[in-house]
Symmetry: C2
Subunit: 198 residues, 2 copies
């Protein structure tokens, strides 16, 4: 990160993930892309009003809701990966804590009430500029149902998990760590990185 | 978070933290602030090109570098809190992992090489839309020095820590947890929230 030469377009500012920054969101003038004084990475700068537009990775936060020997999964009603199964998770919003984001996403996607029992995985996904956090959570009742972003919500025993139809690798990684730890009787926080495939 | 009515300006979009979004960074037209279809929070929308400008919390990542019974701290050369002592930390950049961010920030602020030994704290700071992560780290050598954003860098024993001159509460919280755990002989990951003061 330290050695990116000035003016080189930084690879991970991908149009599909980060907004294309052509104009200053503050004053509307065109921005330039160069290394600001005292910095070591190129940024989108507005020479008209002086604003520096920083782009940073985003947090995706979710839960692994447990009910006895079963795990709650949601089948996605939206792209990307519509029709695939996921743990309830989504982008952290302004003004909330990481724990509030986890509980809110579980409520929104599965109409499910949970009590968090600890951070379980922290997985960096640098090629899409995201960090995914999953909390273990205790499902408080069985009155769950599909939220607006889900086609269906269901509980799965280990042998029933639809491994071929899991939406994202951070979800399958979290599920595998969970099942390993449940088998051994001790849950251990895991950090890791998922690299681009292919 | 679910019940914010359409059109209500969301409190934590603070000009000092998040950019003021008046114009579309994609096409340069004026944006409006309303709840998009299928969403439940107001966003900055461009009716000209259709772009939705999401704002999300940012990750600040750093280390607690250990050398025998001492901890490395940096005295800040930049605002905010110029002249105050901090653990090396800064905003996570695009294209890196959380662990790479921790190591890079330690190198940039203290010219210090570390080996991470585990995530130690995750502290949400919702009033400034940040999540702070600190890793325990082993300092690999004593060839550290002040980086561009530091006035000086030094090692502190417990009794020497300048508690009155610590830059941020996430830093003092992390230091206190560390010293408690070092005293008890067992380091335990901590999550928490720092609320606005006053």
């Amino acid at each position: 990160m330290l050695e990116i030469p000035p003016g080189v377009y930084y690879k991970s500012i991908a149009p599909c993930i980060c907004p294309i920054v052509n104009y200053c969101s503050h004053c509307g003038e065109k921005v330039v892309f160069r290394v600001p004084e005292g910095d070591n990475l190129p940024r989108h700068l507005c020479d008209a009003c002086g604003t520096i537009h920083y782009l940073n990775p985003r947090l995706v936060i979710g839960t692994l809701p447990e009910w006895e020997d079963r795990i709650l999964l949601c089948r996605r009603a939206i792209e990307p990966r519509r029709g695939f199964w996921t743990l309830p998770a989504g982008f952290m919003e302004l003004g909330e804590t990481a724990e509030q984001a986890a509980i809110r996403e579980t409520l929104e996607e599965a109409n499910a009430r949970v009590e968090l029992t600890g951070l379980f995985t922290l997985l960096s996904v640098p090629h899409v500029d995201q960090v995914h956090l999953f909390y273990r959570a205790r499902l408080l009742d069985l009155n769950f149902s599909a939220g607006a972003e889900s086609l269906e919500v269901a509980l799965f025993r280990e042998a029933e998990i639809p491994w071929e139809d899991i939406s994202f690798r951070t979800v399958s990684t979290t599920l595998k760590h969970y099942l390993t730890d449940r088998g051994s009787g001790e849950f251990v926080f895991r950090a890791g990185e998922l690299k681009a495939q292919g």
